[in-house]
Point group: C2
């Protein structure tokens, strides 16, 4: 199955299971969350014309070359009186421009005479150094659309409009589990045949960054009865996210449990790493089963599960930024699956980790992004490839 | 002052004030923190050769074309017995390859006969489908260096080595304050001449994402005595970060307080937005004063204060990724300062927001990154410009 088709299917299912509950939160608690309704401005921003400079406000028609008396001093935060005819006002950055003034000259171009009157050394233009009322926003304007992912900038924008709370979509509740009797938790002694579980650490931290409510559901033992009991005990979650146990192997008890109490589709994705992906339901709760190799988990979470989770919250645009960069490596043999190589940018070129084995998590720690090599293509040095920065998907 | 010089000065000062205290935290609490000592592997990873496939393990020398009996079944998590001579073992992905076996054939290429013996349809090669012991890591190898910023991938890597805790640099404590009598907190009614404070919201959320301990120190009134008292009351912080009040205006009480009880340097940066930057000390505590225009605050925080804060924690490489992209706009007039335009990538080209006024926070909410236009240059459509994704600096 091509990646695009898998993504589209997942997004369609996410649309059908859109989370509609909302939380009303203070801005400090909204980072990473998704706006539940349009943010519409209830004020003009700036609320009045204000000075972009420290200097002098005047009416242009009053300036004939004769020095002007200073009739008031206006600091930011003050409400000035209308400008007296034939005078100017000392004004500071951000302060309201007084009624009647239509020009601000910066202090560097002003000459203050011994009698404290002021003249100006450069030609003046109407509206210069004045930030007009409503330059940024006017009353009634939609400033952010529902579905916007909120970050520091969006929260600052909401604050600038006077909002101290926002309606956001409630967190997605995700239960994360690993499958496999070979897995053991970090910190415990390693027995024969065992390996430490790493995928659940990656996914739980990643989901937390994304603003999800994470239920760490531990390691699912290779036993059908326990698998059933554990799945049933997860309670009210929006997604069960598992890693491993989706192969066609005989030990796939998660697959058996899903077939018995729900449904299961096994998608053979035309990407590498990350071939087998499970999508199913357990008693009505969506289940995504990622492949268990760490690099495969990483790629399939970034390219499929993350967009799905964002779309569940109503985010329209779930594609990460990508950049065309020259390849700093050769790719002599065309592959039959699309490859996502762990790469870095060095001197403007994409280079790749020496060992791209899907078991190697170190390649990902070394990497700054994924280099996408399309199926059926070869690359010579300098050929252009697509690069997806990890930072674009790691939030 | 060129940006490079300002950054180098800040980094030198950060190096001299490196934070050396450590916390020992569980992995779940380490996201975004900085590793305080090298992570060295205490095990081989994988700890034993294991199968990359569901299939059959055999000794290549035993395969003559005659079917082999299956002498054991090895699931992941089991410790297999040595392989009996002249037999093969059923084996599943991730399971240890038994002593004596030097080859795994995938089940798709295996024929199981009526007598349950197995033969293989394709030529076999030594070590095929076996992930060798220590492929990812060997005992004693440095896996992550001190100074590494920890994210989900690095935490997964530590987990895979059996670590459940890490030594990390303690959080940077940053007091954030705004200056200006015109500022009022969101949620309160707007009086004449007042505007809502947005920069502190941006910075507090941003710093929290970065893993800093944030002290929201509120709005500093335009009054010298209160400014002194408030600064003195901040307690033990690593940095005082202020916005606004660093102009040469008469109302710059923060500047006066710093000159009286510490030191102050005003840097005129050759960038736009973001010209005036203050660096100083108040009673020994470093102070960075960012310009108060929202877009200026954003650019100077991203390009100067963020690298400074990371370096205080010992992160060596503090530069965000940047990409060369074709300009989807023209820049006819060369500037005398380097410009950081709020831009997006559309159809592979950088485009910019229509209004790049430094007061406009909306441009930043719309933007996906900064487009860097060097001083003294013009741009035609398709000329290459540098693009810094916001995601690269927003963590």
């Amino acid at each position: 199955m091509p990646l695009e088709e898998a993504l589209q299917r997942l997004l369609d299912m996410a649309d059908a299971a859109r989370i509609t509950e909302r939380d009303v939160l203070t801005l400090a608690d909204c980072d990473g969350r998704v706006l539940a309704q349009d943010l519409v401005s209830t004020l003009d921003l700036p609320p009045w014309p204000n000075s972009a400079m420290d200097g002098y406000a005047l009416r242009l028609a009053d300036w004939s070359g004769e020095p002007l008396a200073v009739s008031q001093r206006i600091f930011a935060g003050q409400a000035p009186a209308p400008l007296a005819a034939g005078t100017c006002a000392r004004i500071f950055t951000g302060a309201p421009v007084p009624e009647g003034a239509d020009c601000v000259e910066m202090q560097e171009n002003a000459v203050v005479h011994l009698d404290e009157r002021v003249s100006f050394s450069e030609p003046l233009q109407a509206q210069q150094n004045i930030r007009p009322q409503g330059q940024e926003t006017t009353v009634g304007e939609q400033v952010l659309a529902a579905g916007t992912r909120l970050g520091p900038i969006e929260l600052g924008l909401a604050a600038s409009l006077g909002r101290d709370r926002l309606d956001v979509v409630r967190r997605v509740r995700v239960a994360v589990l690993s499958t496999g009797d070979e897995l053991i938790e970090p910190g415990l002694p390693l027995g024969p045949g065992q390996i430490y579980n790493s995928n659940r650490r990656v996914l739980c931290s990643w989901l937390t960054r994304m603003g999800c409510e994470v239920i760490d559901a531990g390691i699912l033992p290779d036993d059908l009865k326990q698998t059933r009991t554990r799945l049933a005990g997860l309670g009210s979650v929006d997604l069960i996210l598992s890693t491993g146990g989706v192969s066609v192997g005989e030990a796939d008890f998660l697959g058996i449990a899903l077939r018995e109490e729900g449904e299961l589709a096994l998608w053979k994705l035309a990407i590498k790493p990350g071939k087998p992906l499970t999508f199913g339901h357990f008693r009505g709760v969506p289940v995504i089963g990622l492949p268990g190799n760490p690099a495969s988990t990483l790629v399939t979470f970034a390219l499929l599960a993350r967009p799905y989770l964002l779309r569940r919250q109503g985010v329209p645009d779930v594609e990460p930024l990508r950049f065309d960069v020259p390849a700093g490596f050769v790719w002599p043999k065309p592959g039959n699956r699309r490859e996502y190589l762990r790469g870095r940018i060095e001197q403007g070129q994409a280079i790749i980790y020496r060992n791209q084995s899907s078991g190697v998590l170190r390649s990902a720690a070394w990497a700054e992004g994924f280099v996408e090599v399309l199926e059926g293509t070869t690359l010579a040095l300098g050929d252009r490839v697509s690069f997806i920065p990890l930072s674009e998907v790691m939030n």
